[in-house]
Amino acid sequence: MSAVSVPFSFNRLALIASNTFLEAVRQRLFNFLLLLAIGLVASAQFFRDFNFGSSELKFIADFGFGALIFFGSALTITATAQLFFSEIENRTALTLLAKPIWRAEFVFGKFLGVFSVIGVFCALTIGLMMALLWHREGQLMAANPEAFEAGRIMRYGDLFMVGVLQWLKFGVLSAIVLLIASFSNTNLYTVVTGFFALVICHLQYLARDSWGNVDSLILRSVVRLLSFVFPNFQLFNLSDEIGQGAGLDPMLAGRVALYAVVYIAVIGGLAVYSFRNREI
């Protein structure tokens, strides 16, 4: 057979991604995201009267990341499923896939579109949170100069890094949801299964900690296998390391980021494999 005359094209992939992003923009998803982010960060304001001093700042950061993780996960699962199935259910995939494009371009294009949407959400939330922290820190510094002799104590660079890692984690989650969507028939099934996967990914470390060392070889291997198949989302929770402590270890952050990228590539590849034979 002749060589591939329609090569894989990042151009087409980017086109599909930007069209997916545009769909999110034009369907007013972002208005909702903006409201959500503002609401979240504003609600952190309720804790200002605690006046814990520097621990208040830590509290705001923890609160912000908690909200980011919770709403970000929900958004990732629903937006991925929605943006994928809108293409299938409206039969627009029929027209698109009848063009000379690879199914891999379609799947990764969808992924990249959703990933950008989540990126905007993360940037909004983290940005607003950092602005709030900066502002509050300034107030505390003015009220209590001796506690801040060495200048500002929040490490904003670290906050940003943790935000990026959370974004990558949502990327892994989005790839998992795409894999489920690639063989599932309905949006609802995909969303529900996606939430189960999310819970497993967050809790699998518990299973490993408590069952990983039991005597039963079978149980032990099952737990090991499980923790290998499902990524460990607990790894991404590095927000404890920032704030007052020694700060975020860049090597650790780099390793976690690599972990995410590898999972995205492998799970995305599986999604392509499963979608390749799907009948549209």
Binding site: S5, V6, S9, L15, I16, T95, A98, P100, E279, I280
Partner: protein, 316 residues
């Protein structure tokens, strides 16, 4: 160009769908073999559920054949390459409702790799061709059924493919639009394109197709050129002024004396669609159709004086 390779060749195609969990299969296409030569307009006919759309989806690689082989310009249809020279209008098409018509066609043009330099001209061209220039900047979500068909056609033609596959292009399109669609198909044929078309409106198919195939329950019932299939070469029709009964008798005798038989006497009627076309004011040609979705309400909606007014002609 290599004309010995057929545009579409289908060999022993069978397609089963698993319709229940217990593995009961539904045979949508049953051992179908067909060839569409380059430059032909080929009509695929059949009742609802006879497997027309399924066959088309297999040609486009959207479904996989259970048994058999489908090639497009000699390339197996499951390969991406086979779709390079194909334009496709799905049945009851539906497009990204959040894009404008122009953006939509532009998106598909870019997906198909139309070079940047030609992009704008190509997109404007095809949109003009299908008569949607007036509505090009409206969201596709606001389009009517017939307009969706038109924008779908524009999308199918934008990269200038050699083969165009149209699944019920006239469903939901008014008679004027259908007539235009037929004209367009003939235009494509004159450009040397191959067209595969399905439709329930047999009269229309008759006007444009070189060959037709009729499917029933996924099986090929008959296939051939229109002339072979419906031409009645052993009969002729004469159309004359109204004749009195005595003349008809005389004519019958005269024919009998020469060994001919008068088979039928009928009142010819204009076809209803011809009547419709003659009564509708729109220009019946593509491109110059300002009617689609452009019933723009004039700012000062002074009721127009009826058309009888200018009938006053001063006699000098």
């Amino acid at each position: 160009m290599n004309t010995s390779i057929p545009a579409i060749s289908i060999q022993g195609l069978t397609k089963d769908f698993a319709v229940t969990l217990r593995g009961v299969k539904l045979r949508a296409v049953d051992d179908l073999s067909l060839q569409v030569e380059e430059g032909q307009v080929f009509g695929l006919l059949g009742p609802n559920g006879s497997g027309k759309s399924t066959t088309i989806k297999i040609i486009l690689g959207l479904l996989e054949a259970t048994v058999g082989e489908v090639k497009v310009f000699g390339v197996p249809s499951h390969q991406v390459e086979s779709r390079r020279n194909v334009g496709y209008l799905p049945e009851a098409p539906y497009f990204y409702r959040y894009l404008s018509g122009y953006e939509l066609v532009r998106f598909y043009a870019r997906v198909c790799g139309v070079p940047k330099a030609q992009l704008k001209a190509r997109v404007d061209d095809v949109i003009d061709w299908v008569g949607l220039s007036q509505a090009a900047n409206r969201r596709v979500g606001t389009y009517s059924k017939g307009m969706l068909q038109r924008i779908g056609l524009a999308q199918a033609l934008v990269h200038d493919p050699k083969l165009i596959v149209l699944d019920e292009p006239t469903a939901g399109v008014d008679p004027v639009g259908s007539a235009e669609m037929c004209e367009l198909i003939l235009k494509l044929k004159r450009q040397g394109k191959t067209v595969l078309i399905t439709s329930h409106l047999l009269a229309q198919i008759e006007d444009v197709c070189d060959r037709v195939a009729i499917l029933d329950h996924g099986k090929l019932m008959v296939e051939g050129s229109l002339l072979e299939l419906v031409g009645q070469r052993d009969r002729q029709a004469l159309i004359v002024d109204p004749l009195p009964a005595s003349d008809i008798e005389a004519l019958r005798e005269w024919l009998a004396s020469r060994g001919h038989v008068l088979n039928a006497i009928e009142q010819p009627r204009a076809r209803l669609d011809q009547l419709f076309l003659s009564k509708i004011s729109r220009a019946g040609h593509l491109g110059g159709n300002p009617g689609v979705g452009s019933n723009v309400v004039p700012k000062s909606s002074v009721p127009k004086s009826s058309s009888s007014a200018p009938s006053f002609t001063p006699k000098a």
